[in-house]
C-alpha cells in the first residue's frame, strides 16, 4: 500500500523554490523525470543534466516519476534542495501498455495483454519481427515453419477459431490497422502489445477474434538527442543431416529391387516390363569393373555455410516542443541453400510537435524495400529440396565435359535434374516495397478532454519475377523455359477520430472514456503474365515475349476493394485503485458481408480487483501485488475475402478449334445472408507479485466459443457448384497461460533472473454444417492428411495404422488382401479383408498439447549471459517425405532407412521389401509417416559485454555493448526429418501444421554484434 494519503491544503501564501538533481542507481543523471506537486497538476521535468527547479507550496510534497522507475513521494518541509536517486522498477509494476486507441496503466487493466519491449526483440539477431516474437508471450504461438531467408512466419493467438475465415491476428502498427509485421524491422519497434482476450480486443470488433498485436515504433524523446548503431554479422550452417543411400548402397538396392519384381509382378516380369540398366552400357558412370565412378553427396553440394549482416542506424531526439526519429536499416542474408537470399532496406522518419498548447501534431513514414531470391519453390514437384534427397549418388554434379549430371542419365528413373542445376537455373525474385504513413492531430480541448484525428495509408507493391530454364526436365523443359512476372498493388487508407476523457473525481474515482468513429478502405489490383517456349535462356522474365507461347491461362488480373465503417467506445472506471471496470463496444459495418447483415455490434466487459490495495492484505507482507480480473465479450472475424455474398456470372476461356472463346456462366452460388463469425470469450486472470516483486506471476484461464462459423460448406455437386460460404458450425478453444518472472539472485554485482511462460490450448469442433458431415480441408497427400470432425480438434491427422510388414508365416493372411510377405501390413479397421479409405482414422494431432519457454539471464558486472529453451510437446508431424524416399526404389534415390526394409532375413521391418517401381503397390498416409514432433530447442544463447561508462565517456559514447550469440544450438527430438517445427504446405490452407515434404533444412546460426549509443 502506498503512503502519503493525508489531505493536502494548499495555501498559496507561502511557497518554497526547490531545486535538485535526479540520478539513477549508478549515479547517472536522469533527464525527463516528471516532478509534480502532489495533488496538483503543477509540474516540470528534469533537463539533460537531471536538474529541476519548482515552486512548492508550504507543507507540500513532490512526486517524482519516470517510466521504468519506482515513483517516489518526498515531503518538502523546509528543504530547498532535494536530490533523488530513482530506483529502477525492473518488474515494471506500473508500466503503461498500449491498448487500442490509447494507453492504460497495467494495474488498471481488466483484460489479458501481453507485452514485449523492443530491445528484447533484437536479442535474437533475427531480421523478421514475427520470428523475434516467438516464445515471448504465453498464448502467442509463432510457427517458424520456413527456413528460406526472408520467409514469413505464422502467428496464432490462443488457438485456432476459424476454418475458412482468417486465423491470423490483426496487426496494428502505430494505429495503422491491417499492416504486416513480417515487413517491419525489429530495430524500429519500441514495444509490442498483444491483446488476447475480449476485454482488450473487442475494441477492434469485427477483426478482433484472432487477437490483436499492437506495434508501437520508436519515437524521439524531447531534449535527448542520441545516435545509436546496432549491428551484427552471423554465420549459419545446416543444423542436421538426413542420410540417403551412397553410390554402392544405391546399386545394391537397385539390383535387389529388380530381383524382387519377379515376386511382385510375375506376369509383367515375364512380359519384360522390368528391364534393369546394365552398368557396362554406361561408361560415363561406371568403371571397367562395373563400380560407380561417382559418389555424390547432394546434401553437401546444396547446403553451404552462409553469412548475414544487419545494420541499424538511428537518430533520435528533440527540442522542448518537437521530437524526431530518423532511422535506417539494412539486412543482407544468404541462405544455407545455395543461391537463396534476402536483402532489405528500411527507413523511418517520425516527427511529433506541440505546435500550440492545445495542439500536438505528428506523423511518421516507414518504408521497406526487400528482395528475396527463392530457389526452393514448387514443393511437391522435383524441386531443389526434393532432388537433394532424390538425386542419384552415382550421378556427378557435372561430367568432365561440363554437362550437368541428371537422374535422366540412368534409365527408368523419374529423371529429375540435379539440385545444383535447379538452384542455378530456376528462381523467383520477390520484390516488395511497402510504405506506411500516418498523420495525426491531437487537440487538448480541456484539461481532461482530448480529440485526436488520424489519417493513415499503406502502399504496398509486390513484384515477383520468375524464370525456370529450358533444360530442367519435369519443371520447365516440356515448356522450353517458363517465365512469369506478377505484380500486386495495394492501397489502403483509414481515417479515425476519437475523443478521450480522462477524469479524476476526488481521490477515489478515475474515469477514462473514449469514443470514436472510423472509415477504412482497402483496394488492390494484380496482374500476372506467364510465357513459355523461349528461344534462349538469355532473356528470362526481363523479356517475357522472348517466349513465343503465351497461353491465355497465363494472363491474369483482377481488382478488388473492401470498406469498413465503425463506431467504437471504451470506458474505464477505477475506484480507490482497487476496483476496476472496463466496458467496450464496437459497431462495425463491412462491405464483405451480405446485403442483409452489413452491421454488427461487439461488446465486452472486464472487472478487476487489486486485492493488494486492500487493508486486509497488509498482514501478508510477502505479497506486494495481487490482482484478479475477469472479462467477457464478443469479437468478430470478417476475413473471408471480398464479394462472397454475391452470385457471379464469370467469364472463362473455352477451347474451340480456332482457339479460345469467351464463355459466360454462373460461377459462384453466393449467399446474401453472410455475416461475421463471432467469438464469445471469457477470461479469468490472476496477477501476483511476491517479495517486493522478486517473483511475479500471471495466470490466465480462457474459454472461447466461435459461432456462426464461416464455413465453405459443401454443396451437392449436382448444383454445379462445390461449396458456398455459410455461417454454420462452431468451434471452441480453452486454455491456460502462465507467466513467471523471477529474480533468483540479486547480490552485489550479480543478478540471475528467469522468465518462463507456458501455455496449453485445447481445441474442439462443436458443429459443422447442416448435418455435421466430416470435412477434409486438405492438402491431399496420397490420401487425406487431416480431418475436421465434430468433437475433435482442428488439425486431427487422418490415416491408416501401419502394423509393419507381413511375415513369411503370415502369407495366407496377406493373401486375403491380395498381398505378399514383404508388403505393408495395415490394420483392417472394418475387418472386411479390403484395405481402402474406410480403414483410416484419426491417428494424431498437428498442434501441441503445451508449449513452454524458459530464459535465464545472468548479469555480472559488465557481462550479461542468457540462454533460452523452448519446449513444444505433444504434437505429431507428418513426415510425408518418407513416401518418396522409402516407397519408390529405382525411380530415385532413397533414404538410408530402406537398408532396413523387409528381407527374408529381416522380417520385422516397417519398410516394405524393396521392389522395382511399377509393381502393384500401395503407398498411403499412415502412422509410419507420422512421427512424434515434440521437441526441446536451445533457441538462443547470448553473451554480452557492456563497456564501462568511465571508459566510454572519454569517447563521448553513452553506451557500448558487444555480444556473441547462437540460435538453434541444440535440438532434442525423436523426429527423423530435419526439424519438427516445419510445414511445407503453407500455401495449401491455413489449418494444417507439421506437414513435412522435402523442407528447406533448418540452419544453426552464430552471431557477433555491437550496440553503440552516442
Amino acid at each position: 500500500a502506498s503512503g502519503a494519503d493525508e489531505e493536502m491544503e494548499i495555501s498559496g501564501e507561502m511557497a518554497i523554490n526547490v531545486t535538485g538533481t535526479i540520478v539513477d542507481q549508478n549515479g547517472e543523471p536522469l533527464p525527463g523525470v516528471s516532478v509534480l506537486v502532489q495533488g496538483t497538476t503543477t509540474g516540470t521535468v528534469t533537463d539533460l543534466e537531471g536538474n529541476y527547479s519548482i515552486e512548492v507550496p508550504e507543507g507540500g510534497a513532490l512526486v517524482f516519476s519516470f517510466i521504468g522507475f519506482k515513483s517516489q513521494v518526498i515531503q518538502v518541509a523546509d528543504q530547498s534542495q532535494i536530490n533523488v536517486t530513482m530506483e529502477e522498477d525492473a518488474r515494471a509494476l506500473d508500466e503503461v501498455v498500449v491498448v487500442g486507441y490509447g494507453t492504460l496503466k497495467k494495474s488498471d487493466l481488466t483484460g489479458s495483454v501481453g507485452s514485449v519491449k523492443g530491445d528484447k526483440l533484437i536479442d535474437r539477431s533475427q531480421p523478421n519481427a514475427v520470428k523475434s516474437l516467438q516464445g515471448r508471450i504465453a498464448g502467442v504461438e509463432v510457427l517458424n515453419n520456413q527456413n528460406s531467408p526472408g520467409a514469413s512466419a505464422r502467428i496464432r493467438i490462443r488457438g485456432i477459431n476459424s476454418i475458412n475465415s482468417g486465423v491470423n491476428p490483426l496487426f496494428v502498427i502505430d494505429g495503422v490497422i491491417g499492416a504486416d509485421l513480417n515487413m517491419i524491422n525489429p530495430a524500429d519497434i519500441e514495444s509490442v502489445e498483444v491483446l488476447k482476450d475480449a476485454s482488450s480486443a473487442a475494441i477492434y470488433g469485427a477483426r478482433g477474434a484472432n487477437g490483436v498485436i499492437m506495434i508501437t515504433t520508436k519515437r524521439g524523446e524531447k531534449n535527448l538527442n542520441q545516435i545509436s548503431y546496432d549491428s551484427f554479422v552471423s554465420l549459419s550452417h545446416r543444423a542436421g543431416s538426413v542420410k540417403t543411400l551412397n553410390a554402392n548402397q544405391f546399386m545394391e538396392i537397385y539390383n535387389r529391387a529388380f530381383d524382387n519384381a519377379a515376386k511382385y509382378d510375375p506376369q509383367g516380369f515375364a512380359q519384360g516390363r522390368y528391364q534393369r540398366a546394365d552398368p557396362a552400357d554406361f561408361p560415363d558412370l561406371f568403371d571397367a569393373n562395373g563400380q560407380p565412378i561417382y559418389d555424390t553427396n547432394w546434401e553437401e553440394e546444396i547446403y553451404n555455410p552462409a553469412w548475414a549482416q544487419n545494420h541499424n542506424l538511428a537518430f533520435r531526439g528533440g527540442s522542448n516542443t518537437t521530437s524526431y526519429n530518423v532511422s535506417l536499416g539494412y539486412t543482407n542474408e544468404d541462405g544455407i541453400m545455395m543461391n537463396s537470399g534476402f536483402e532489405r532496406f528500411t527507413g523511418k522518419i517520425a516527427l511529433d510537435s506541440d505546435i500550440k498548447p492545445w495542439l500536438t501534431i505528428g506523423g511518421s513514414m516507414l518504408g521497406t524495400k526487400s528482395s528475396r531470391r527463392v530457389v526452393d519453390d514448387a514443393n511437391g514437384a522435383l524441386n531443389v529440396a526434393r532432388m537433394t534427397a532424390e538425386a542419384l549418388p552415382i550421378i556427378p554434379l557435372r561430367y568432365p565435359d561440363g554437362r550437368w549430371g541428371s537422374n535422366a542419365d540412368w534409365p527408368g528413373t523419374e529423371g529429375g535434374e540435379n539440385p545444383v542445376n535447379i538452384a542455378q537455373n530456376r528462381y523467383t525474385d520477390v520484390n516488395i516495397t511497402q510504405m506506411y504513413a500516418d498523420f495525426y492531430m491531437n487537440f487538448k480541448i480541456t484539461q481532461d478532454l482530448e480529440f485526436r484525428s488520424t489519417f493513415s495509408t499503406i502502399f504496398d507493391t509486390n513484384k515477383s519475377n520468375f524464370y525456370s530454364s529450358r533444360n530442367l526436365r519435369l519443371l520447365s523443359a516440356d515448356q522450353r523455359g517458363v517465365a512469369s512476372v506478377g505484380m500486386t498493388k495495394r492501397l489502403y487508407w483509414q481515417n479515425e477520430n476519437f475523443l478521450t476523457w480522462n477524469k479524476s473525481i476526488g481521490e477515489r474515482h478515475r474515469i477514462n472514456g473514449m469514443f470514436g468513429f472510423s472509415w477504412q478502405r482497402d483496394q488492390f489490383e494484380n496482374l500476372s503474365v506467364r510465357s513459355e517456349g523461349f528461344i534462349d535462356d538469355f532473356f528470362q522474365w526481363r523479356n517475357i515475349r522472348a517466349g513465343n507461347i503465351i497461353p491465355i491461362s497465363g494472363i491474369n488480373g483482377n481488382v478488388g476493394e473492401a470498406g469498413l465503417n465503425s463506431f467504437f467506445s471504451r470506458w474505464n472506471y477505477t475506484l480507490d485503485d482497487k476496483y476496476l471496470l472496463t466496458v467496450t463496444g464496437r459497431y462495425d459495418g463491412s462491405s464483405r458481408f451480405g446485403r442483409n447483415n452489413k452491421f454488427a455490434f461487439f461488446p465486452s466487459i472486464g472487472l478487476g480487483w487489486n486485492l493488494s490495495e486492500e487493508g486486509f492484505m497488509d498482514g501478508l507482507s510477502g505479497v506486494n501485488k495481487l490482482k484478479i480480473r475477469g472479462s467477457a465479450g464478443s469479437t468478430g472475424n470478417q476475413e473471408i475475402g471480398n464479394f462472397n455474398s454475391l452470385q457471379f456470372l464469370g467469364t472463362f476461356n473455352v477451347l474451340k478449334a480456332s482457339g479460345n472463346e469467351i464463355g459466360i456462366s454462373q460461377t459462384s452460388f453466393g449467399n446474401p445472408d453472410l455475416l461475421w463469425e463471432s467469438t464469445d470469450q471469457f477470461d479469468f486472470g490472476v496477477e501476483l507479485g511476491l517479495f517486493n516483486s522478486r517473483l511475479m506471476m500471471e495466470a490466465d484461464l480462457y474459454y472461447k466459443k466461435t459461432k456462426n462459423l464461416l464455413l465453405n460448406a459443401p454443396l451437392p455437386w449436382s448444383t454445379g457448384f462445390s461449396s458456398v460460404l455459410q455461417n454454420i458450425g462452431s468451434v471452441e478453444n480453452k486454455g491456460l497461460e502462465l507467466t513467471f518472472n523471477t529474480v533468483n539472485i540479486e547480490k552485489g554485482d550479480f543478478m540471475w533472473t528467469t522468465d518462463l511462460n507456458w501455455s496449453t490450448n485445447s481445441n474442439k469442433i462443436l458443429s459443422l454444417g447442416a448435418n455435421d458431415a466430416d470435412i477434409f480441408p486438405g492438402p491431399w497427400f496420397l490420401g487425406q492428411t487431416n480431418i475436421l470432425r465434430v468433437g475433435e480438434p482442428i488439425g486431427s491427422i487422418w490415416g491408416r495404422v501401419r502394423l509393419g510388414t507381413w511375415n513369411q508365416d503370415q502369407a495366407d493372411q496377406a493373401a486375403e488382401y491380395g498381398l505378399l510377405p514383404g508388403d505393408i501390413r495395415w490394420q483392417d479397421l472394418d475387418n472386411n479383408n479390403v484395405i481402402n479409405a474406410n480403414d483410416s482414422k484419426i491417428i494424431g494431432r498437428m498442434y501441441p498439447k503445451w508449449v513452454g519457454n524458459i530464459t535465464n539471464t545472468f548479469q555480472y558486472r559488465n557481462f550479461d549471459f542468457s540462454f533460452e529453451f523452448r519446449a513444444v510437446q505433444g504434437m505429431d508431424v507428418i513426415n510425408a517425405t518418407l513416401h518418396s524416399v522409402e516407397d519408390r526404389q529405382t525411380l530415385a534415390n532413397s533414404y538410408a532407412t530402406v537398408l532396413d526394409a523387409w528381407r527374408p532375413d529381416n522380417q520385422d521391418a516397417m519398410v516394405a521389401e524393396v521392389r522395382a517401381w511399377g509393381t502393384p503397390y500401395l503407398t498411403n498416409m499412415d502412422t509410419h509417416w507420422m512421427e512424434d514432433g515434440s521437441f526441446v530447442r536451445l533457441q538462443n544463447l547470448m553473451l554480452g559485454y557492456t563497456v564501462p561508462a568511465n571508459i566510454l565517456s572519454r569517447y563521448n559514447i553513452n553506451r557500448a555493448r558487444f555480444f556473441l550469440s547462437g540460435q538453434n544450438l541444440l535440438l532434442f527430438t525423436e523426429y527423423t526429418g530435419y526439424d519438427p517445427e516445419v510445414n511445407t504446405f503453407e500455401g495449401a490452407g491455413q489449418l494444417p501444421q507439421g506437414l513435412d515434404f522435402f523442407p528447406f533444412a533448418r540452419p544453426r546460426t552464430y552471431s557477433a554484434g555491437v550496440n553503440i549509443t552516442f
Binding site: G272, Y274, P411, G412, T413, E414, G415, L474, L475, D478, Q479, R480, P551, I552, S553, V559, E561, G563, L564, N565, G589, S591, K598, F643, L646, Q647, F648, L649, T651, V654, L655, K656, A657, S658, G659, E661, I662, G663, I664, S665, Q666, F669, G670, P716, W717, S718, T719, G720, S722, N771, A773, D774, G818, N836, N838, L891, G918, T919, P920, Y921
Partner: protein, 471 residues
C-alpha cells in the same frame, strides 16, 4: 460506403450484345473435356476409368488401376467424383444458358432456335453420361439458386431419358445447324450420332425400350450415313487419325478440342511407356496400358493390331516391353515439343456405321445389306475378309467385335458392356454374360458393377440421395 462493386458480372448484370449471347452458348463446352481429363494420381485420366473397368487395360500403381481391374473400387475411388462433378457443372452451364438466351432480344428466332439446339444437345450429352454411369440421378433442368433447394433426390433413369435427354435431342434435330461445324461445335452430325447412341442404349439395358427404339436409332444413323461422301469420309489409313491436319474433318464427327498452346492432349504422355525415355516428355506415364490378352484376341491379320496402327511395341529401336496405345501418338509432340494437339473423338464415322448395323439388325430381325456393308467397310480397312449374310445374333456379335477392335480405348467398350450386359472374353473370344464374367485379373463382375457408386462426398452432403446397391 459499404456497397461492393466487384467490377465484374453478377447474375443481376444487364447483358444485351449478340456476343454475350454467344458466350452463354460457348460456356456449355467448358466441361466437354471431363471425359478426357487428368484425375486421380500420377498418370491418371478420366478416360482410363472406363478402360480399367472393361478389363482391357491397366496402368501404373498411382492410377489405382488395380482397384478397378480387381473390382475393389468404392465410393471414394478416383475418377468417379470427377465425372459426377464435371458433368453436373456442364449441366449447370446449359441450364444458365437456357435461362438467359431467350432474354436477348437481338437474336433472331432462327438464331435463338439454333443456339437452344446447341445447348440442349450438350445437356443431353452430359445427362447421357450420368445415367449410364450412375443410373438414377437428380434431375436438374434450371439453375438452383436457393440454399433451401439444393438437395435433390434421384430420379429413375427412364424419366431422365424421357424428360430431358430425348426431348432435348428431338428439339435439337429441328434446328438449322450444319452437318459439320469445323470449329468443333454441336453440329447436326453430332445431334444425329448422339440420338442414335441414346436410342440404341435406351433399347438395351436397363430401360429395354425394345425394337421401336432400335428403329429410331437406325433412322438417325442412316440420316448421318447419307452424308458420307459429302460431309464425312472414312480415312484411308488409321494413322490419318493422328495427323493434326485432319482434326474435325474426314471421319471425325464430334471431338474434344486440344491445341499446342491453350490445352494439350493429356493422353499422349499418359499412353507412353513409363519413363522409357523415348520422347521429349519429362513424364512418360504409362497410365493407360493395353492388356496383352486383349491385344492378342484380335482376329489374325487385323491391320489395326499391327505395328504403328493402333499400337506400338518399339520406338526408335527401343523395345517397349509390350503393346502401347498409338491412338494419340502425336509425333511432333513426342519427338520435339511435348505439346500434343490431337483431338479426342466423341463420335467418329465407324462408331455410327456400327451403331446402324447393330440397331437395324435388331429392328428388322436380321442384317440388311447396308448393315453388312457397314461392317465390311470397317473390316476392309483392317485388311480382313468381308463377311457374308448371317443370322441376327451372329451378326450382332460380329458388330460388337468390330466395336471392341475399332473403338478400343476410346471410352466406348464399357458402355457397350453395360447396355448389352455381354462381355467379350479375351481368352475364349466368346460373349459371356456380364454378371459372372471373370476378367483377366481373375475378378468377376457382379450386379453391383453395372453402376458406379455415387461419390461418397455427394452422399454425405445431399441427404436425399440413396447409394447404389452394393456400395
Amino acid at each position: 460506403f459499404l456497397e461492393e462493386n466487384p467490377g465484374t458480372l453478377t447474375t443481376q448484370a444487364d447483358l444485351s450484345s449478340p456476343e454475350a449471347a454467344r458466350a452463354f452458348v460457348t460456356s456449355i463446352y467448358a466441361n466437354l473435356n471431363v471425359i478426357v481429363t487428368g484425375s486421380g494420381g500420377w498418370g491418371g485420366n478420366t478416360l482410363s476409368l472406363l478402360e480399367f473397368m472393361s478389363g482391357k487395360a491397366d496402368g501404373v500403381p498411382q492410377t489405382e488401376a488395380f482397384r478397378f481391374n480387381q473390382l475393389t473400387y468404392d465410393s471414394q475411388s478416383f475418377y468417379i467424383d470427377t465425372y459426377w462433378n464435371g458433368l453436373y457443372q456442364g449441366i449447370l452451364r446449359c441450364n444458365v444458358a437456357l435461362e438467359q438466351l431467350p432474354q436477348f432480344s437481338v437474336l433472331s428466332e432462327q438464331e435463338l432456335t439454333d443456339y437452344l439446339a446447341e445447348v440442349r444437345t450438350m445437356r443431353a450429352f452430359y445427362y447421357f453420361y450420368l445415367v449410364r454411369m450412375y443410373g438414377d440421378v437428380p434431375l436438374i433442368s434450371e439453375p438452383v439458386r436457393e440454399l433451401s433447394d439444393v438437395n435433390r433426390p434421384r430420379v429413375p433413369v427412364k424419366t431422365i431419358y424421357d424428360e430431358i435427354i430425348i426431348p432435348d435431342l428431338l428439339a435439337a434435330e429441328n434446328s438449322d445447324l450444319a452437318w459439320r461445324r469445323t470449329n468443333g461445335e454441336v453440329s447436326m452430325g453430332f445431334i444425329k450420332s448422339l440420338l442414335a447412341d441414346v436410342y440404341l442404349t435406351y433399347a438395351g439395358h436397363p430401360v429395354m425400350a425394345g425394337s421401336q427404339a432400335y428403329a429410331a436409332s437406325a433412322q438417325r444413323s442412316m440420316e448421318l450415313l447419307d452424308q458420307v461422301g459429302t460431309v464425312y469420309n472414312l480415312f484411308p489409313e488409321y494413322t490419318d487419325m493422328i495427323n493434326p491436319d485432319n482434326k474435325n474433318s474426314g471421319e471425325f464427327i464430334f471431338q474434344v478440342q486440344f491445341d499446342k498452346i491453350n490445352r494439350t492432349n493429356p493422353l499422349t504422355p499418359v499412353c507412353l511407356p513409363t519413363f522409357a525415355g523415348i520422347s521429349v516428355y519429362s513424364n512418360e506415364f504409362g497410365g493407360l496400358v493395353p492388356r496383352q490378352e486383349f491385344v492378342e484376341s484380335f482376329e489374325d491379320g487385323d491391320k489395326r493390331v499391327q505395328e504403328k496402327q493402333y499400337f506400338i511395341t518399339e520406338y526408335n529401336g527401343e523395345t517397349l516391353g509390350g503393346h502401347y496405345i498409338y491412338k494419340w501418338f502425336d509425333q511432333t509432340a513426342v519427338d520435339e515439343d511435348a505439346r500434343s494437339e490431337l483431338n479426342f473423338s466423341v463420335y467418329r464415322l465407324p462408331d455410327v456405321m456400327l451403331m446402324y448395323a447393330e440397331a437395324s439388325n435388331r429392328a428388322e430381325g436380321s442384317p440388311n445389306g447396308m448393315a453388312i456393308e457397314m461392317v465390311n467397310e470397317i473390316r476392309e480397312r483392317a485388311d480382313l475378309d468381308p463377311i457374308g449374310s448371317m443370322g441376327m445374333e451372329n451378326f450382332e456379335e460380329e458388330v460388337w467385335n468390330q466395336r471392341y477392335f475399332e473403338l478400343c480405348f476410346e471410352g466406348k467398350i464399357w458402355f457397350d458392356m453395360l447396355r448389352t450386359r455381354k462381355v467379350r472374353n479375351d481368352l475364349t473370344g466368346e460373349y459371356d454374360n456380364f454378371v459372372g464374367h471373370t476378367n483377366v485379373f481373375n475378378s468377376t463382375f457382379a450386379e453391383k458393377n453395372l453402376l458406379f457408386p455415387i461419390p461418397l462426398r455427394e452422399m454425405d452432403v445431399n441427404s436425399e440421395l440413396e447409394q447404389n446397391p452394393g456400395f
